[in-house]
C-alpha cells in the first residue's frame, strides 16, 4: 500500500503549474502539503484525484496507475475547498446523499463531527464552520478509501474542531490509510511528514506543448 508520484508535471494552457514533483506516501502517515499561495497545492490534489489531466509523470496508488481512472478513483476521497453542500437540504440529508453514493454510516459520521444537534437544520442556515464540518463528514463516511486528499480542511473551524478533524485523520492513518493535506496551519499532526511545493521551473523548449510558444516565431 502506497502512493507513488514521480516527476509529476502539470500544465494549464501551455503554462507550467507544477514541475517534476516526486514523492511517496506510506500507509499510516499523513503528509502536509505546504507552500505559498498560488504555488499549485490545490492543483496537485485535483490532479491526483484525477480531476485534471497530467502533462507528464506518473501517479500509482497501490499498484493502480491513475490512468486506470475508475479503479484509481474508487480508492480516493477528495475534499476540495468547497463543501459541496446543497443549501436547501438539511445537514442530515446532505450527508445521507453522500452515503448513498459512497457508502458508510450516516449516524456515525454525524457523531464524529458533532452534527447531531444541527442535523435538521438546512445548510443555508448553518455557519461557515458548521458547513465545513458537514462537508468533512464525508471523511467519516469513506473511511475505507485508503487515500484522502484534503484541501484546506480546517478553514473557518474553531480550535476544538480542528483537533477533532486531526483526530479523524490520525485514526484513518492508524488504520493504515494515507492522507495528503494542503494546509497553512499545523493541525496538531505532530508526526506528519511535510512536503513543500516550490515555484515551478520555466517550460523547457523540449516540453513546450503550446504551439503558440514553440519555435520558429520571428
Amino acid at each position: 500500500m502506497s502512493l507513488a508520484v514521480s516527476s509529476l508535471t502539470l500544465m494549464r494552457s501551455g503554462r507550467m503549474i507544477v514541475s517534476d514533483l516526486s514523492f511517496a506516501l506510506t500507509p499510516g502517515r499523513a503528509t502536509l502539503l505546504r507552500g505559498p499561495n498560488g504555488v499549485g497545492k490545490s492543483t496537485v490534489l485535483r490532479a491526483i484525484a484525477g480531476l485534471m489531466p497530467i502533462a507528464s509523470g506518473s501517479v500509482v496508488l497501490n499498484g493502480t496507475p491513475l490512468t486506470d481512472r475508475d479503479a484509481f478513483q474508487d480508492q480516493v476521497l477528495f475534499a476540495g475547498h468547497q463543501d459541496a453542500l446543497k443549501p436547501t437540504l438539511t445537514v442530515a440529508e446532505n450527508i445521507a446523499f453522500w452515503a448513498h453514493l459512497f457508502g458508510g454510516d450516516v449516524r456515525a459520521a454525524m457523531q464524529s463531527f458533532q452534527l447531531d444537534e444541527i442535523a435538521d437544520r438546512p445548510a443555508h442556515a448553518c455557519s461557515a464552520g458548521q458547513k465545513r464540518r458537514t462537508g468533512l463528514a464525508r471523511l467519516a463516511l469513506a473511511k475505507d478509501r485508503p487515500l484522502w486528499l484534503l484541501d484546506e480542511p480546517t478553514v473557518s473551524l474553531d480550535q476544538a474542531t480542528v483537533e477533532r478533524v486531526a483526530s479523524v485523520i490520525r485514526a484513518h492513518c492508524d488504520a493504515g490509510g494515507m492522507a495528503l493535506i494542503a494546509t497553512h496551519i499545523d493541525l496538531g499532526l505532530t508526526d506528519a511528514d511535510t512536503l513543500t511545493l516550490t515555484r515551478p521551473r520555466p517550460v523547457t523548449a523540449a516540453e513546450e506543448t503550446d504551439p503558440f510558444m514553440a519555435g520558429g516565431w520571428e
Binding site: 480531476l51 480516493v76 459541496a84 437540504l89
Partner: protein
C-alpha cells in the same frame, strides 16, 4: 437504495424545496398562454387555429427556464467534483439529472396543457394528441436542454447564451409536435407526425448524455 435513485431523489427534493423552481415553469406556461389572447384578440376561432402552436411554443419556453441551474449550481458549490469521483459515470449523471428536470418541469406542462387548451378553444379531437405529443416531446426538450446547460456551465450568467444555443435545437421537436396537434385539430390523421416526433425525441434522448458528459468533462479539466 442505489446511487441512481439517490441522485434522482435528491434532484426532485432540490427542485421541490423552496427556491428550487419546479413550479416556476408551470406558472410561466400559464402566463404566456394567458397573454396570447391579449395580443391576438379574443376571437375564439382565431385562438383555436393558433392554439396548437402557441401551446407548444409556450411549453418550450417554460422548459428553458430552469435549465440554467441544471449543472451550474453543482459546478459552483463543488458537488460536480465529488460526483465526478463517485461510481456513477458522467453519462449516467446527465441521464438522471435530465429525468429529474423532465419530471419536475415537463410532466406538469403535460398535465396543464389540456386545461389551457380549453381556454384557447382548441378543437375537441386534438386533446388526446396534445397530451400524447407533449408526453413524447418534452423529454427531448429536457435532453437537448441538458446539452446547452453542460456547454454553458462555466459561463457566468449563461442563461441567455443557453437559450440561444438550445432553442435552435428545439426546432424539429417543435415542428413535429405542433403538427401532431394541429393535424388532429383539423380532424386529419396525425400518425406520421407522431412517429417523426417520437423518432426525434428518442434520438435527442440518446445523444444528449454523451454530448453533455463530454462538455462537463471539458469543464472539469
Amino acid at each position: 437504495m442505489n446511487a441512481y435513485s439517490a441522485l434522482l431523489r435528491r434532484e426532485l427534493t432540490l427542485a421541490l424545496r423552496s427556491g428550487g423552481g419546479a413550479g416556476l415553469g408551470l406558472a410561466f406556461f400559464l402566463i404566456v398562454i394567458m397573454l396570447i389572447p391579449f395580443g391576438v384578440g379574443p376571437e375564439t376561432p382565431t385562438l383555436g387555429l393558433i392554439a396548437p402552436g402557441v401551446l407548444w411554443v409556450a411549453a418550450l419556453l417554460a422548459c428553458l427556464l430552469s435549465l440554467d441551474r441544471l449543472f451550474q449550481q453543482d459546478a459552483e458549490d463543488g458537488t460536480l467534483d465529488i460526483l465526478a469521483l463517485s461510481p456513477v459515470p458522467m453519462e449516467g449523471l446527465v441521464m438522471v439529472k435530465t429525468l429529474g428536470h423532465w419530471l419536475t418541469t415537463g410532466v406538469p406542462l403535460v398535465i396543464a396543457a389540456p386545461v389551457l387548451g380549453l381556454t384557447l378553444n382548441l378543437a375537441g379531437p386534438a386533446y388526446p394528441w396534445l397530451v400524447a405529443a407533449l408526453l413524447v416531446g418534452t423529454p427531448a426538450l429536457s435532453a437537448l436542454g441538458a446539452i446547452g446547460a453542460a456547454l454553458t456551465v462555466g459561463v457566468r450568467r449563461g442563461g441567455l447564451l443557453l437559450s440561444i444555443l438550445v432553442l435552435p435545437l428545439y426546432i424539429p421537436t417543435l415542428i413535429f409536435g405542433a403538427q401532431v396537434v394541429s393535424l388532429a385539430a383539423k380532424g386529419l390523421d396525425p400518425g406520421i407526425a407522431m412517429m417523426l416526433l417520437t423518432g426525434t425525441s428518442l434520438f435527442a434522448v440518446a445523444v444528449s448524455p454523451f454530448a453533455s458528459a463530454a462538455a462537463l468533462r471539458v469543464h472539469l479539466s
